[in-house]
Subunit: 120 residues, 2 copies
């Protein structure tokens, strides 16, 4: 799996419009459509309902959107943390780890549970 595809998927899921999503991603619409189709094929699942004029996320699409947001956030903090340790941002090793834990908590504050929509 390539993370680029997740970025593409998230853009389409938010715009609900391939053309606008492509513009936002600074790419053309056809390759974006193909990547989403390829992702759907890999998963064996439709992520968007294209039968109407307005595109909609399927249930599977909603689940993936939820996971994807958190994965991409996590990826982002992974890089920030790795860079900040690597460039020896000052202080002791213990303090650097402490700062990293703090930033990790901040990045994941809203990551307690996905799919809070159900009331079971």
């Amino acid at each position: 799996m390539e993370c680029r595809r997740l970025t593409y998927f998230l853009a389409v899921a938010e715009e609900l419009h391939f053309g606008r999503a492509a513009t936002r991603l600074d790419m053309a619409q056809p390759p974006l459509s193909r990547q989403i189709a390829s992702l759907e094929e890999d998963l064996g699942v439709k992520l968007f309902d294209r039968s109407r004029s307005q595109i909609r996320l399927t249930q599977a699409g909603l689940v993936l959107q939820d996971h994807t947001r958190q994965i991409l956030e996590r990826l982002d903090s992974a890089f920030r943390d790795t860079r900040s340790v690597g460039s020896g941002g000052g202080g002791t090793y213990q303090n650097r780890l402490r700062r990293i834990r703090v930033s990790w908590r901040a990045a994941n504050a809203n990551t307690i549970l996905p799919l809070t929509l159900s009331g079971s």
Copy 2:
């Protein structure tokens, strides 16, 4: 960022040997070395200490390894969950969401905090 690189990185971090990691990944050693070098370049940080006969993770490498494990696990459950919803695994929508939450909790049971090594 490409997730493939994270898989590569994790294999090397676990084997601490480019040759064995490449075998495990079913690829040749040179492209693996290049991908790791390219990852280090992107991050602006050395992930491995190659100055000794036995390769070692740098501090930055340890941080990235920690994040990477969890990101890849998360990616895995994202796909499982998306597939299981998509293929309409039986039961009501609410019950399917409930099962997904349960599997999510299981996959993330050890994901409370990274870097628990420090005692601050």
